[in-house]
Structures are given as structure tokens and as C-alpha cells.
């Protein structure tokens, strides 16, 4: 399946054949050529064949590198929908996720041929604060999960904010992602109406080395301080450890749609941009260091006795003041025609679908965001225009239904 592996096999075949004298060499060369041709053919559908596990302690789509494309879909419950209805909806979604994640069309798909594979498709399901009110499930809220306060920098629009249920769908192929999203919404239409859909992207497959921190559309390396996948730090920051059963192994998500004012940002010089962030644009290294992973030294001074990382720098304001203020970010970029007005000329709006995952948003996220809202020079070039929080259910084993303990 993986082309490189088959190429290696082909090489091994050749090496083995080389030990045989005479005609054996020709046979081995044939085998090598055949192996190479097969590997090349497999390479053409390599992206479609890639899958990520859909079952386990945690839902997919969080502790893994961002796929190339994403859609965040928020839905609001239809009136009179009950917990029993929710359970049937979650059964449909769980079955759909199990199929789509292995590259199969959902049951009764009118156009199953559009699912050309999985392309690392993941679906993550979460629930907004209003759902708990509507269904009288407040006693099952995980600790620290509340509607976050509004900040003075916010210019939130309802069409990008709130929502009872989140379906976060990502894949490395936009066509597969689009059809999968439709399938999930078809099985949701009985229970809920779509409130908003926000689409985002990162680099395509084959454009960056593994482990490369992505860049946002301001040009910054964004996400350097994230905990490593599979690390104890990640588990400590992200996964809920105690509380209602449906949430243990789950997490809390805040999605912020952050509009970037790139025209004014681009009128700055590179040095000004780097001072604003506190990192070098070229490689993301902190201004006190040389490479991306060098620790940030907020006390470092230059030959004039001035702080190397200015007081107003984003990294200074965003830095955790203690271990409780750490969380995981998994942002996607967006670029769309602006929704400001119907008049021409249309504006090209760029921004970030910024996400933070924490086991307790109140404790881990809110203090940091409060600090950033008070004073962060970066606010000059960014405006939050959407905001939503969702409690993400734990992962499921085959045979279980997503969030079944919440609704039964």
C-alpha cells in the first residue's frame, strides 16, 4: 500500500536475485521492475488509502496532525427533540463515522462511488451549552464547561457562533470530505437544523515534512508550543479524567473564527511583525533563540537593556502563567469572500479557525484569553468574529454509540 515500502521490497528482491548467477539476475530485475510499477500505481491512490482509527478512548480528529481540509458544522436541535431522539441520531452518526473512517460509503448512500477512500477522514462530535439546557442535562456537564465570557475585542456574528451540536469533519481530500459531510447531515436532518458551516484548510499532502508546524495566513509559524501527540502532557492538558461517564476521555473545545486584517498587517516591515509576535518569521524561533523549539525567555535583554521579546508581544501575553493554563491548539486557515455586505467590490477575507482543546476551559483557556483581550498588539490586526464551545464526548469502542451515557 505504501509506495516506499514496496520500493524497498523491490530492492530486496533485486538484492536477493543478485546473489543468483546468470538468468536469476534477469528474473530479479523483472521482479524489481514489476514491484516498482506496482508501487508507482499504489502511489496514485496513496492519499485515499490513508485511514485514522475511529474507535478508542478518545474521538478521532484531535490527537493527530491537521488534515488538509476541514468543515466545522454546528446544528441546533429541532423543537421537541428528546434524549431518546438524540440516542437514535447518535447511533446513525456512529455507524456513519465507522464506515466513512475506513473509506466506505454510509448505508443507503445514493452516490456511494463518491467515497473514493478515507483520506484520513475524521469526525468529532461535541455538544454546546444550550443542548444541556434544552434537554435538562445540566447535571451531566463536565467541570469547567460553560459559555465563555465575551471579550471586548470580540465582534461576534451569530452566523459563526454558538450551536447545540458540533460535527467537525476533516480529510485530506475535499471531495471525499464534502460527500461525507452531506451524508452526516442527511442523517441529522430529522433531529436538527444546520446553524453554520465553517470551512478551513491547511497545506495539502506532500507539501511539508512530517512534524512541520503549520503557518497561518499572516505568515507566522503557529502552534509551536503544542504538547506532543501521545505524550503525557497532551493527556494531562486535553483529556477529561473524571466526571460524567460520557465525558471521561473526552475534552472541551473552543472554536474562534479570527478575521485577519492582512492589508494593514502586510504594510508592516518584517521586524515589526516579528516584534509583534515575539518570534522570527523565517523559522518560528523565539526572538531570544535560534530555532523553533528553543524555549521562550521573556526576561532576555539586548545590549540596550531592553526586553528582547517586547512587553506587547503576543507570545508574552499568550504564555501560560502556570501549568494549569496549557492547552492544545489545532487551527485551520480560512479564506472566503467577506460577508460584510452585498456591495462590490467583494473583499477577500482571510483568517483562522482557531481551536483550543482543554479538559477544563474555565481553568485552562479563559485566563489566557482574558489576558490577550486586555492587551495584545496582535489584536490590532485580528478580530474574533465567531465563537463557540462544545463538550466533546469520549471515544467509542465498536458496538458502542457516541455519547450514549449522556442521552440514556
Amino acid at each position: 500500500m505504501v509506495s516506499r515500502r514496496q520500493i524497498l521490497l523491490g530492492v530486496a528482491g533485486m538484492a536477493g536475485g543478485a546473489a543468483v548467477l546468470g538468468g536469476g539476475g534477469a528474473i530479479a530485475a523483472e521482479a524489481y521492475k514489476r514491484g516498482f510499477a506496482e508501487a508507482e500505481a499504489a502511489g496514485h491512490i496513496r492519499v485515499a488509502k490513508e485511514t485514522l482509527p475511529w474507535s478508542g478512548k478518545h474521538q478521532a480528529g484531535i490527537e493527530s496532525p491537521s488534515q488538509a481540509h476541514t468543515k466545522f458544522v454546528a446544528l441546533d436541535l429541532k423543537p421537541q427533540v428528546t434524549s431518546d431522539d438524540m440516542l437514535r441520531w447518535m447511533l446513525l452518526l456512529t455507524e456513519d463515522i465507522a464506515a466513512l473512517s475506513v473509506g466506505e460509503a454510509v448505508l443507503a448512500d445514493p452516490s456511494p462511488e463518491l467515497i473514493a477512500g478515507a483520506a484520513k477522514l475524521t469526525v468529532t462530535v461535541g455538544f454546546g451549552p444550550d443542548l444541556f439546557k434544552k434537554l435538562s442535562l445540566e447535571h451531566k456537564l463536565p467541570r469547567g464547561f460553560v459559555q465563555i465570557p465575551s471579550f471586548k475585542i470580540d465582534a461576534l456574528k451569530p452566523e459563526f457562533s454558538g450551536g447545540d451540536v458540533l460535527l467537525h469533519v476533516s480529510a485530506d481530500d475535499l471531495q471525499i470530505l464534502s460527500h461525507a459531510t452531506r451524508a452526516l447531515l442527511r442523517d441529522s436532518q430529522t433531529f436538527a437544523e444546520v446553524r453554520w458551516i465553517q470551512a478551513g484548510f491547511t497545506n495539502a499532502v506532500g507539501t511539508a515534512r512530517p512534524g512541520t508546524t503549520q503557518r497561518n495566513l499572516m505568515g507566522q509559524v503557529d502552534g509551536t508550543d503544542n504538547p506532543d501527540f501521545g505524550s503525557q502532557n497532551f493527556a494531562n492538558q486535553v483529556w477529561i479524567k473524571d466526571g460524567p461517564a460520557w465525558a471521561v476521555g473526552g475534552t472541551q473545545l473552543v472554536l474562534r473564527r479570527i478575521k485577519m486584517h492582512l492589508d494593514t498587517w502586510d504594510s508592516l516591515g518584517r521586524t515589526q511583525k516579528e516584534q509583534t509576535i515575539g518570534r522570527f518569521l523565517r523559522n518560528g524561533a523565539p526572538l531570544n533563540g535560534k530555532s523553533e523549539r528553543d524555549p521562550i525567555d521573556l526576561d532576555a535583554t539586548n545590549e540596550f537593556g531592553l526586553k528582547v521579546i517586547p512587553e506587547f508581544a503576543h507570545v508574552r501575553r499568550a504564555s501560560a502563567k502556570n501549568m494549569d493554563e496549557l492547552f492544545f491548539r489545532r487551527p485551520f486557515n480560512y479564506q472566503e469572500q467577506t460577508s460584510e455586505s452585498n456591495s462590490k467590490p467583494v473583499e477577500l477575507e482571510s483568517g483562522l479557525l482557531w481551536t483550543a482543546y482543554a479538559k477544563d476551559l474555565t481553568e485552562q483557556y479563559v485566563p489566557v484569553q482574558t489576558r490577550l483581550a486586555q492587551f495584545d498588539l496582535l489584536n490590532t490586526w485580528t478580530t474574533p468574529v465567531g465563537s463557540a464551545v462544545f463538550a466533546v464526548a469520549r471515544g467509542v469502542k465498536p458496538g458502542e454509540i457516541l455519547a450514549e451515557e449522556l442521552f440514556s
Binding site: 437514535r88 447511533l91 465498536p398
Partner: protein, 169 residues
Amino acid sequence: MLRSALVALVLAPVFIFSSVVPATAAAPAEVSISDAWVKASEYSDHVGGMTGIFAKITNKTAKTITLIGGTSSFAPKVDVHQVVNGVMSHKQGGIQIKPGKSAILEPGALHIMLMGLTKAILPGARVDVKLTFKGARAVALILTAKSVPAGAETYTPAPMATPSTTPNK
């Protein structure tokens, strides 16, 4: 494929998830059934209603078998139907499946009908059905009800049941 494992549900507890159960069948399957589902619609969301079952049914035996009907806790009558020129009717003699071949039951064509529902079938409901064959053992399945507009079935000119007056839930 995963969904071929549906047949194994004969041996599995009913709450198990239809599409992801690992195969545990003791005897070699005579019939393999995949992509099976029940349609949830305004015709199925009330007692007395009706609905269709769709699937791909493959004959794994060496002789022709015939799907003749079935049983379900949701309906007293489980019948084999056909749609010809948009008109649905009982298929006399059942559906014959030659050795190694498959019958495709799909909206607007051959299908199995649950008639005179004793319980409403809403989207996401799990519906038990046991399909009976001439020439092969019966196969028990737990199916998921899905609301999918497909097949352009209108149950005309003579509807066998009336749709509910309330919107489909």
C-alpha cells in the same frame, strides 16, 4: 467487508451494532447479506404504517435459493415486493437467487416490505428481521432505519397505508 458480518448477528445479542460486528459464525454462511437497511419515512412513523427493507443478498450455496419472506417483531407481515412501472405489488413466488449470484433489493425495485407496523419505525431505530429462504437457512438481522429520499416510491395508485399527518420525526 464489514457489513457481510451482519449474517453473524444470528448468534449475537440484539444490542450489538449492526455494521461493525466481527464475524463469529460457526457454520459456513449459505447467504451473505450486506448494505442492509430499513427506510424510515412518513409511512413508517406510526402504528399501522409500512416500510421497505433493502439489501444485497448473495447466494453462497451450490443451488438456486428463493427469498420468500420473513418475520419481525415490528410487523405481522413481511413480504417480498416488486415495483413495476412505479406500481408496487407482491412478488409471487419470491425472489430467486442463482448460485454465487446476488439479488439487489433497492428503493424503486425489488424489496422486502414490513406491513401493518405494530411499532413506529423512526430514523435511527433498530429493527429486527429474520429473512426466510427456500433452499437456505433463515438469516436474522438487526437493521438501522434511515431516512433517505430514494427510489421515487409513491405507493400509488393504491396506497396500502396512509402517511402520518404529522411531519416525519
